[in-house]
Amino acid sequence: MKYTPTVGEILQAKGVSRRGFLKYCATTASLLALPPSMIPRIAEAIENARRPSVIWLSFQECTGCTESLTRSASPTVEGLIFDAISLDYHHTLQAAAGEQAEAARHAAMEENDGNYLVLVDGSIPMGNPGYSTIAGISNYDMLMDTVKGAAAVVAIGSCAAFGGLPGANPNPTGAVAVQDLVKDKPVINVPGCPPIPMVMTAVLTQFLTFGKIPDLDKHGRPLAFFGNTIHDRCYRRPFYEQGKFAESFDDEGAKAGWCLYKLGCKGPTTYNACATVKWNSGTSFPIESGHPCLGCSEPRFWDKGGFYQPLSTGHFGSGATVAGAAAAGVALGVVAAAAGRRRQNKFTKEA
């Protein structure tokens, strides 16, 4: 059995001082939205964590999730994590290709049977296995084969978590999510289009250091990052409450930073960490930059009305159906009036 060093040993070997390590733990606590009092526990957990194996499978995806992760907030932390984990298989990032790459995947699966983490981005086409293949193997076959000995599966991005863009109307490839196929292993969904890089890393770190699945909501998303809506954490919320809304892009209200509800913001029904963790090392997030939230971490967000249609827009059906209802009303009214008039005549006759 190959000796696997702990993360602590790896860091020490890299010449990271204890102060540097404490700084890393503080950043990690921040990333995981854990209180500063947890830092000593994190330090202990990380120091003693074994170096795990990670297999990354890319299916019907745009590679945005990988891009987001590798452009991460604090490359040093990411670099440490990726040095600490053993990324044994990743199409975009690995140097190997073809049969050698597949051999590496199988070797990692065998060596770490029961302990490796499978990360998936992209949806899986069920319409025809030929729609998306790697080395001649269909996505479905590769997924079901790889998860057999996995400790857990992390579905990265809205495509893997919920079907995403390929799964949007009319879903020509029959795209499905990881959780629709993997039933016997724990599945963690980290949705977003793409997910916030810090969130992706934090979920990985949380699993790797504490060795357990974080608390998940009903869509399988870690509550630590998907427990609150954007609306509940948005800094523009006071404007919503005061009734100050931007009416169009670039109007006075928009320039003054008012609420974007009327421009289609999906903040109230979207659970994600964008309003607190933000993007690009905490620089900003869509609403702060003046664009309404798309709701990209919610299932089927592509098919939920328009991005620029306010949430409270009513859907009344076509004018034709309403006209039909009106006509039905007239018809019923005439019938009722006819019956009423007959009764009236009867009474007048009787009188």
Binding site: T229, H231, Y240, E241, Q242, G243, F245, Y261, K262, P268, T269, K304, Q309, P310, L311, S312, T313, G314, H315, F316, G317, T321, V322, G324, A325, A326, A328, G329, V330, L332, G333, V334, A336, A337, A338, G340, R341, Q344, N345
Partner: protein
């Protein structure tokens, strides 16, 4: 389709269609009835002017009844004005109407709407308690009265719960709120809630008939 999508979509659509059909049904059914011919000499014109005048003057209590009806009148005005404000002057509702009519208008701040909403609920409960305890009202009230009150209060209370949130998710509270509105819209044309549109016809007709007969309007 989750509950919120169902509420916002098919449920509301169906309710809107029932509202349209039901309202037109009732109006047509009433307007097409025979008018009892009045063979007496007209003592007044009894036309549209009279109709409009009485629609307006009926808002004010006739002097002999003022004192006795002061309390229910105030409660009813608070409830009706409160309903108008919470439905039509709350910005997310205005956005809803804008999607439908194309018009929008300024709204009141959310905190003001919330306060008005609470006042409306209080007045509504004051009125239902009066209905249940007053000896006369108790006798003459039926299912229609109580159910109409219930379907009016439900959207109000569920709407107020949304900012309060407690332990519930926004989407669940919103779905229940919209479904309760759908229930209101479906019931509206058929029961006593139909007074929403019928009151103008009845008052107007009363005005026309009375003025023709020379009664004070």
């Amino acid at each position: 389709m989750d509950l919120l999508e169902f509420a916002r979509g098919p449920a509301l659509q169906f309710a809107a269609l029932v509202l349209v059909a039901g309202t037109i049904w009732r109006i047509v059914g009433i307007v097409l009835l025979k008018k009892k011919p009045d063979y007496s000499e007209p003592r007044g014109p009894g036309g549209l002017g009279a109709a409009l005048k009485v629609i307006y003057t009926r808002a004010f209590t006739a002097p002999p009844f003022k004192q006795a009806t002061l309390y229910p009148k105030i409660m009813a005005y608070v409830m009706h004005i409160g309903l108008f404000a919470t439905i039509f002057l709350f910005t997310p509702h205005i956005v809803f109407f804008e999607g439908w009519t194309g018009f929008d208008w300024p709204g009141l701040p959310n905190s003001v709407i919330f306060f008005i909403g609470v006042a409306t609920v209080v007045s509504g409960f004051a009125l239902i308690i009066r209905r249940m305890t007053s000896p006369v009202l108790k006798l003459i009230s039926n299912f229609d009265d109580y159910f109409s009150w219930f379907v009016t209060m439900l959207p109000l209370i569920t709407g107020l719960l949304i900012p309060v949130r407690a332990f519930f998710r926004y989407e669940d509270l919103m779905a229940i709120h919209i479904l309760s509105v759908a229930l209101l819209l479906i019931w509206l044309p058929f029961g006593k809630l139909g007074h929403t549109f019928l009151v103008f016809i009845t008052r107007g007709t009363t005005g026309m008939v009375f003025e023709r007969r020379g009664a004070k309007t």
